[in-house]
């Protein structure tokens, strides 16, 4: 595109001081604030009465609106001082491949598709054991003050540095020590995330022939789409995606026919078998050309994702379900919950990672997105706005988990060692927790979604699917609960598998790139042997973690999910540390609190959680205390439940030690980075700022609106600009 060489005079940007707020604006925002305040008051004050889930939904929406309108604007204008006269990397380095001026709404779609995944769906479901209130507060307050701020500020700083990655920025702005620590942390955290996501899929598909059949069919469907796009009708993405979605729905329906047939037994797979399938699949998918599997799968999962989220929002409003969970459960204060151990502080804040604050997003915000941004002011809409949308997904997932019968919730989410695995023992188990559900009701719930059993279907996905199926069948009728359940399982498994494909590939490239520094040939990504070795290493790493989780006698999710949550939050700590560092280096010490407050909170939470997971002498929480307890019992010749034999005792000892070591290592890496950064902070604060790698100001020619809706002035400026260039609209129309 010839945008940068255009010598037309710099068109007027719609800038200058904002006009004073009109009466209309005051009335609208006053009303939004009032709705928000009422919703929050109802949620906070209701005890022991029926509360509609819509209060949660609207508390979230009105809080988001106010935060976006006021706080994100404050950050953009005062803290970051976004400057639309500066050309972005997309404009300066435009090469039509990775750097390219992109319409803001299109980029919003790409960015959201990249950040949203299974995390915001699973975490809130598990955190529902604390009651609906802690999760709701953290998801909403967390996203406003922490998550969205991180995404937006990292995106901005990366834009000012030609789209550099988080690791690169840490190395250049903080130091080599911090940089190396960040590199290791990013790689290790990715492996953990892949393992936990894969574990969610394994738990959702185990002993479920319907699920296995439908998900299995997504592979030939994706292959068909890939060949269609490559050979039959190249480039017709919409057409082939429409075909793919229809085939996908057929696959779900067909799964129901399989369920009662002779094939069902062959497709009833154990967790161990599924793990091997997933590992083999992950390896093959990451070495195959992207057009065969990854790209078509990505189209499918993105469309499914957006479709389901929209459907859920509509379904919730129509069904207006009543919250079944308590506002705050006794597990929150006593720390003895069956889903995961630990008190509300710090564990609710690490269980709900994505949706409130997710360090992984910093990798996206410093990866592809900054290279496509048309205008600096758009960091607000893409970074802050995109994360608010993700938070909305998390709130919806939390609602789905708290509107189902809570006896069922605990029967599904407590590990098999606790529930005993049968409807009778599970009913007894939840009765001890203080909930009533009869064995018949448990069996009826499983029959309603045509699953063999719902007892101890941990991992969050089945619970979410059950909640969604309940909301959908209430809202849209038709007695299709089983279809909706498997539809939801399919939708989660689909994009987790996409994340596993893509993550393995990204991990492979990272490994090849890093090893390539010392062994040049290995860094060549077109060398097949190197590719295969690197893929095998990455798949082997997450595959073995997955195997550890799957075979864990204590229940894999409650052991691994805290590790995943803490790892993700530690990555956020690295990103926020970078943000604080850069603000101070740019002589904006007085604004350092903007990323500084979430950083302080995140460090308190993650370090407390890490400390407890490593040093707590409560075997339910501390990994090493747990290992000790089982080691002592084993040496004394005892077998402790839920382990069934000496072999499982060994396994518990090994797993707990491994998890403890990983946990401690992550925390240490982050301490190294923060310590390194504090040195820079002091130096920069004393010197009144330090030089950074920010690229110099280059005047921008591109004109583009800043927000979702263009103002009248922006439209006029766009029109005038396009007229002056006389041609080709850039990155879209209007």
């Amino acid at each position: 595109m010839s945008t940068t060489t255009d010598a037309s005079p710099q068109p007027a940007q719609p800038a200058g001081p904002p006009p004073r707020p009109g009466v209309r604006s005051l009335l609208i925002w006053g009303a939004v604030a009032l709705v928000g305040a009422v919703c929050w008051a109802v949620l906070a004050l209701s005890r022991g009465e029926d509360v509609s889930a819509l209060w949660m939904l609207f508390a979230a929406l009105s809080s988001y609106a106010i935060a976006y309108r006021f706080y994100s604007r404050f950050i953009a204008r005062r803290v970051l001082e976004v400057d639309d006269t500066r050309a972005t990397p997309a404009e300066r380095l435009d090469n039509g491949v990775d750097f390219e001026v992109t319409d803001r709404r299109v980029l919003f779609g790409h960015h959201f598709a990249a950040i949203a995944g299974a995390g915001p769906l699973v975490g809130p479901v598990l955190a529902a054991q604390m009651g609906y209130l802690p999760g709701t507060i953290w998801i909403i307050v967390g996203v406003i003050l922490a998550g969205a701020v991180q995404d937006m500020v990292v995106l901005f700083f990366s834009v000012r540095r030609d789209g550099k990655s988080l690791g690169q920025m840490v190395r250049e702005e903080i130091g080599v020590v911090g940089g190396i620590a960040a590199l290791i942390a990013v790689f290790a955290i990715m492996i953990i995330i892949l393992a936990v996501l894969a574990l969610v899929v394994v738990n959702a598909l185990a002993e479920s022939p319907w699920g296995v059949f439908s998900i299995g069919l997504t592979i030939p469907i994706a292959l068909f789409m890939g060949f269609y796009l490559r050979y039959l009708r190249p480039g017709r993405v919409l057409e082939v995606t429409a075909i793919g979605v229809v085939l996908l729905l057929l696959a779900i329906v067909a799964g129901g026919w399989i369920d009662g047939s002779a094939l069902a037994d062959d497709l009833t797979l154990s967790k161990e078998t599924l793990t091997l399938c997933l590992v083999a699949y992950g390896f093959i998918a990451s070495v195959l050309p992207v057009w065969m599997l990854l790209t078509p799968r990505d189209y499918l999962s993105t469309f499914m994702k957006v479709g389901v989220i929209a459907l859920l929002a509509v379904g919730l409003v129509i069904a207006a379900p009543t919250i079944q969970a308590d506002a705050v459960t006794s597990f929150a204060t006593d720390g003895d919950g069956p889903v995961f151990a630990g008190k509300v502080f710090p564990f609710v804040f690490i269980t709900i990672a994505c949706g409130a604050l997710s360090g992984f997003h910093a990798l996206i915000a410093s990866g592809t997105t900054p290279k496509l941004l048309a205008k600096e002011s758009q960091v607000r809409m893409i970074g802050y706005g995109g994360m608010l949308m993700e938070s909305f997904v998390a709130i919806s997932a939390l609602i789905a988990a708290v509107v189902i019968d809570q006896g069922l919730y605990y029967s599904m989410n407590a590990p098999a060692g606790a529930t005993g695995g049968t409807v009778e023992s599970a009913a007894e188990f939840v009765a001890n927790l203080g909930f009533t559900i009869t064995p018949d009701q448990l069996a009826a719930a499983a029959a309603a979604v045509e699953e063999e059993s719902l007892i101890s279907r941990t991992g969050g996905a089945p619970t979410l699917a059950f909640g969604l199926s309940q909301v959908f069948s209430e809202a849209f009728g038709g007695g299709l609960q089983a279809f909706w359940y498997h539809f939801a399982i399919m939708f989660e498994a689909l994009f987790i598998l996409t994340a596993v494909d893509a993550g393995t590939r990204v991990g492979r490239f990272m490994l090849q790139d890093t090893v390539g520094n010392v062994w040049k040939r290995f860094g060549d990504t077109s060398w097949t042997v190197g590719t295969w070795i690197a893929s095998a290493v990455v798949v082997g790493a997450w595959g073995s973690m997955l195997y550890v989780g799957v075979t864990d006698p204590l229940g894999g999710i409650n052991q691994l999910f805290p590790l995943f949550g803490i790892a993700n939050q530690l990555l956020a700590a690295i990103a926020l540390t970078l943000c604080v560092t850069l603000l101070i280096k740019h002589d904006k010490l007085r604004w350092a609190w903007v990323p500084g407050i979430p950083l302080a909170w995140d460090l308190i939470v993650t370090m407390t959680a890490s400390w407890q997971k490593v040093f707590s002498d409560n075997p339910a929480i501390g990994y090493f205390a747990q290992a000790d307890r089982y080691r002592e019992a084993r040496d004394a010749g005892d077998v402790l439940a839920p382990a069934a034999d000496a072999g499982q005792m060994d396994q518990v000892v090994f797993n707990s030690t491994l998890n403890g070591v990983l946990q401690a290592a992550f925390a240490l890496l982050v301490i190294v980075i923060v310590a390194n950064a504090v040195v820079i902070w002091v130096r920069a604060a004393r010197a009144g700022g330090l030089p950074t790698t920010e690229v110099p100001h280059t005047p921008s020619q591109v004109v583009a609106p800043a927000d979702f809706f263009a103002t009248a002035e922006e439209k006029e400026a766009m029109r005038a600009w396009e007229e002056s260039r006389g041609a080709e609209p850039v990155g879209g129309r209007r």
Partner: protein, 66 residues
């Protein structure tokens, strides 16, 4: 704002179509053709063009988050 309902619906449908084509990258081909036409260059075939585009993706993996 004076447009009738039929016009508005059409505009909305066009908008959605435009958005989907942009997001999926389907419209890249048309943009490429237009560019070639402006520059007076003979465009490659669609098959070659799309193959070129997917091959670029091969070495530019994008992470999908959790």
């Amino acid at each position: 704002m004076s447009a009738g309902p039929a016009v508005r619906v059409r505009r909305a449908v066009d908008g959605v179509r435009w958005y989907l084509k942009e997001v999926t990258g389907e419209s890249r081909w048309e943009a490429y053709l237009a560019r070639c036409g402006r520059d007076g260059v003979e465009p490659m075939t669609r098959r070659e063009y799309e193959r070129h585009r997917t091959d670029l993706r091969e070495h530019n993996p994008q992470s999908r988050c959790c």
